[in-house]
């Protein structure tokens, strides 16, 4: 699939919003992939954290917001501690959640009302906490 790039799209309002909320410079990313390599839940993600950063920088808003990556992120901060450029990737993930949650049609990745009966009693909280806003920023 071919995407058309222009100065309106690259580093657009969406990307700038993610940068503003997270306080991180997306241009700083090497695309080395260390974040994804160390992420304990990367196997289940639609895109690795490094890819999410790349897509965001290129201004691909719809594609980024439709992936499960930042919802699966457990904020274990492994990525942030390993990033050679000192980018706090967990904060970027949180910023992406915030972008969605701040929208009118805000919707958590998990809906408590949709849980099967007795589910909440059986699973430890930590197992689904990542499906919600983390209040990191």
């Amino acid at each position: 699939m071919k995407i058309e790039l222009s100065r309106d799209k690259v580093h657009n309002e969406f990307a700038k919003k993610v940068e503003w909320i997270s306080g991180q410079n997306l241009f700083a990313c090497y695309q080395c992939g260390n974040c994804t390599a160390g992420c304990p839940v990367a196997f289940a993600m639609d895109l690795g954290p490094h890819e999410v950063i790349r897509y965001t920088l290129l201004g691909l808003e719809e594609e980024v917001l439709s992936v499960n990556t930042f919802w699966l992120c457990a904020s274990c901060l492994q990525c942030s501690s390993r990033c050679p450029k000192g980018i706090d990737i967990a904060r970027v993930m949180d910023a992406l959640r915030m972008v969605i949650l701040r929208k009118k049609e805000r919707r958590d990745y998990l809906q408590i009302s949709e849980f099967p009966e007795g589910f909440l009693e059986r699973v430890p909280q930590i197992a689904f906490i990542s499906g919600f806003r983390k209040f990191l920023s």
Binding site: M1, I3, L5, S6, R7, N25, A28, Q31, Y55, L58
Partner: protein, 649 residues
């Protein structure tokens, strides 16, 4: 019968791990004239050399064979060692049992041991008939010729002149500076190129030890290291430079304008003009292929207006003779030509330009006075695409090598663009980013982070015009997505190639070039500024693509090497060269034709062919070609060689 000694080196496990060195020493020791045969872990070490020296004195040895690594490694070491023990160094020979035996036969230990013995026996045959020789001493001329007036040639010339040596600096164009004069700012400190260059250029023209020849080329060279005779072809400028004061009135009145190659065709110049406005020396030159006087004698305006009467339409080329001891080739580079690329719209789409053209655009004295403007309509480009590795790293179609400077100059250009056009977006298509110099990576990362330059990893497949834009089709392999950009201006980082005519120049100087035309150094690591011919040195991009930092370092290294060469009283050369038995030579002249070093010449008075000892490199071509067996190589006579071969068969 000579008393011979054999010293077998283990080279740690390099030899001893494969060859049974004890057995070899024992077996060789049984040979009648071998009075001493031992092995040792490292013969080249100080105690190892001491073993040789002691054996020579104790057993009055008259010849030594050291069985070890290649003679190019340690022949010199051991010859010096035997000399301190009072033996003529040419009675010491190396039997190479490492590169030519143990390393290549690691799985065949028994055979390797047998082969090592045979190699030693063959070398013993040579030593039995070696003569005692003395190095040849030759006088030396202390002047230097530097070919090329770019930053490499300028640096080498200044270093040599400051060391007290007379320098003849020959530049093909009408002024100093080379490609550096075309640049705007330089990475990684963004220092402006021209002021730095100007300081050096002014020093050169005022230096009493440097004689500058502009519009000149080396026409002929004869001789050898320490004693070259050269002829410089100084082409007519049609202006008496001793009178011209650079007032530029002639330029004002000249009616002929044509695209300036210095400005990469982005600007115009006159038929009488400076190379560039503040060039050094600030002298004008008439271009006869453009000038109306030379077309049909219809215009003499410059001549009429010149207050100094400097215009000389009848000026002739000159041939200037000089003698030098060493020569520096600093011929620099060209960019990959438009005609040969045939893609990316290079040469067809006006808004697709090369990196050097963009440098002219960024230069305050350039055709746009430093403003970034589209050549097609003069508008400021808002979508700016840089494409790296154009014709570089493309072994299938163009050049296989990396041109080394493009990654950094592209980053610098993208930075300068973004600073001048803050609402524009620079994109860089790259395959890998090479930023290996001091401060380079930091500069690059700063450019990406602070200036928002978007780096896209992937090659561009197509560049074409559509709706007033230059469409660029590429890919971002990081996301796996195809990319399309409607660019306003595209800058191609085209490959660096050796400058035109360097092959012919190298042939004149008996220097060699590689398959791409870059000058070859004597050894890539140990002799990187020496050419394959003694007395000929290299500096700058003529040897390989490099940036200004590396060029200046290499030019200074070259100057240092030459100063070391020229500061000796006499030059000493290995005496292992050809000689002629004058009673046998029939004067057929086959050797004269076959000699690659022009070391053989006919002496018609005596009817024989002679050897120029200083030119002969001891290659043996004349010996193999002589139908009368009239010439021989010192210490590699036919008898010696045949006996060595006999040992093996």
């Amino acid at each position: 019968m000579r008393r011979l000694g054999v010293f077998i080196c283990h080279c740690g496990v390099n030899i001893a791990g494969t060859v049974d060195v004890k057995k070899v020493a024992e077996e060789i020791g049984k040979i009648e004239d071998v009075c001493h045969s031992i092995d040792y872990i490292y013969m080249c070490s100080e105690p190892g050399q001491q073993l040789i020296r002691e054996a020579i004195q104790e057993k009055q040895l008259e010849g030594v064979v050291v069985a070890c690594c290649s003679p190019s490694m340690h022949e010199n070491t051991f010859r010096k060692a035997v000399k301190t023990a009072g033996m003529n160094p040419y009675l010491c020979e190396i039997a190479n049992i490492r590169e030519q035996c143990s390393w290549v036969h690691q799985k065949e230990k028994e055979e390797a041991t047998r082969k090592a013995m045979e190699i030693i026996q063959a070398t013993l045959e040579k030593v039995r008939r070696n003569e005692e020789l003395e190095p040849l001493a030759m006088s030396i001329n202390r002047n230097v010729l530097v070919i090329g007036g770019g930053i490499a040639g300028m640096t080498a010339s200044l270093d040599l002149a400051q060391g007290g040596y007379e320098v003849f600096l020959v530049e093909k164009g009408p002024a100093l500076g080379g490609h550096m004069a075309q640049l705007s700012k330089t990475f990684p400190d963004l220092s402006p190129a021209f002021p730095n260059l100007l300081a050096k250029a002014l020093e050169i023209v005022s230096h009493p030890k440097i004689e500058l020849f502009c519009c000149s080329e080396l026409e002929e060279v004869k001789g050898y290291v320490g004693n070259f005779e050269i002829i410089i072809h100084k082409k007519a400028t049609y202006v008496d430079w001793t009178r011209c004061n650079g007032c530029a009135r002639c330029i004002e009145v000249c009616p002929v304008e044509y695209p300036s190659s210095f400005d990469r065709e982005l600007g115009m110049r006159k038929a009488v003009d400076f190379l560039y406005p503040n060039c050094v020396p600030k002298r004008v030159k008439v271009t006869p292929t453009q000038c109306r006087y030379f077309q049909d004698r219809s215009c003499r305006k410059c001549e009429e207006v010149c207050p100094e009467k400097a215009i000389q339409f009848d000026q002739k080329d000159e041939r200037i003779h000089r003698k030098v001891g060493a020569i520096v080739i600093a011929t620099g580079f060209d960019l990959f030509p438009k005609e040969r690329l045939g893609e990316y719209g290079y040469g067809e789409i006006p808004d697709v330009i090369d990196g050097l053209a963009f440098e002219r655009m960024l230069s305050p004295d350039g055709p746009t006075r430093g403003k970034i403007l589209r050549p097609s309509d003069g508008r400021v480009p808002k979508e700016m695409v840089f494409i790296q590795c154009v014709a570089s790293r493309d072994p299938d179609r163009y050049m296989p090598y990396c041109s080394r400077i493009c990654c950094m100059y592209t980053a610098k250009q993208a930075k300068m663009y973004k600073e001048q056009v803050p609402d524009g977006q620079p994109y860089v298509f790259y395959m890998d980013i090479r930023s290996d110099g001091k401060g380079y990576e930091e500069f690059l990362q700063k450019t990406i982070e602070e200036n928002g330059v978007l780096y896209l990893r992937g090659r561009v497949s197509r560049v074409f015009q559509e709706d007033g834009k230059v469409k660029v089709w590429g890919v971002d392999t990081l996301t796996g997505k195809g990319i399309e950009i409607g660019a306003d201006l595209v800058v191609l980082a085209t490959a660096i190639i050796p400058s035109e005519g360097v092959k012919e120049l190298a042939a004149k100087l008996r220097a060699t070039v590689d398959k791409h035309g870059f000058l070859t150094e004597a050894h890539i690591k140990l002799y990187p500024v020496e050419s394959s011919t003694k007395g000929i040195y290299l500096a700058g991009c003529g040897q390989s693509p490099k940036d200004i930092t590396d060029t200046v370092s290499q030019a200074s290294a070259t100057a240092g090497k030459i100063q070391a060469l020229l500061s000796t009283d006499k030059l000493f050369q290995d005496p292992l060269i050809a000689y002629v038995d004058e009673t046998v030579c029939s004067g057929c002249g086959i050797c004269v034709e076959i000699c690659p070093y022009e070391a053989r010449e006919m002496d018609y008075r005596r009817g024989i062919s002679i050897v120029h000892v200083a030119l002969c490199q001891g290659c043996g071509a004349c010996i193999a070609s002589c139908p009368n067996f009239a010439c021989e190589l010192r210490n590699s006579s036919s008898v010696q060689t045949l006996r060595m071969v006999d040992t093996f068969i």
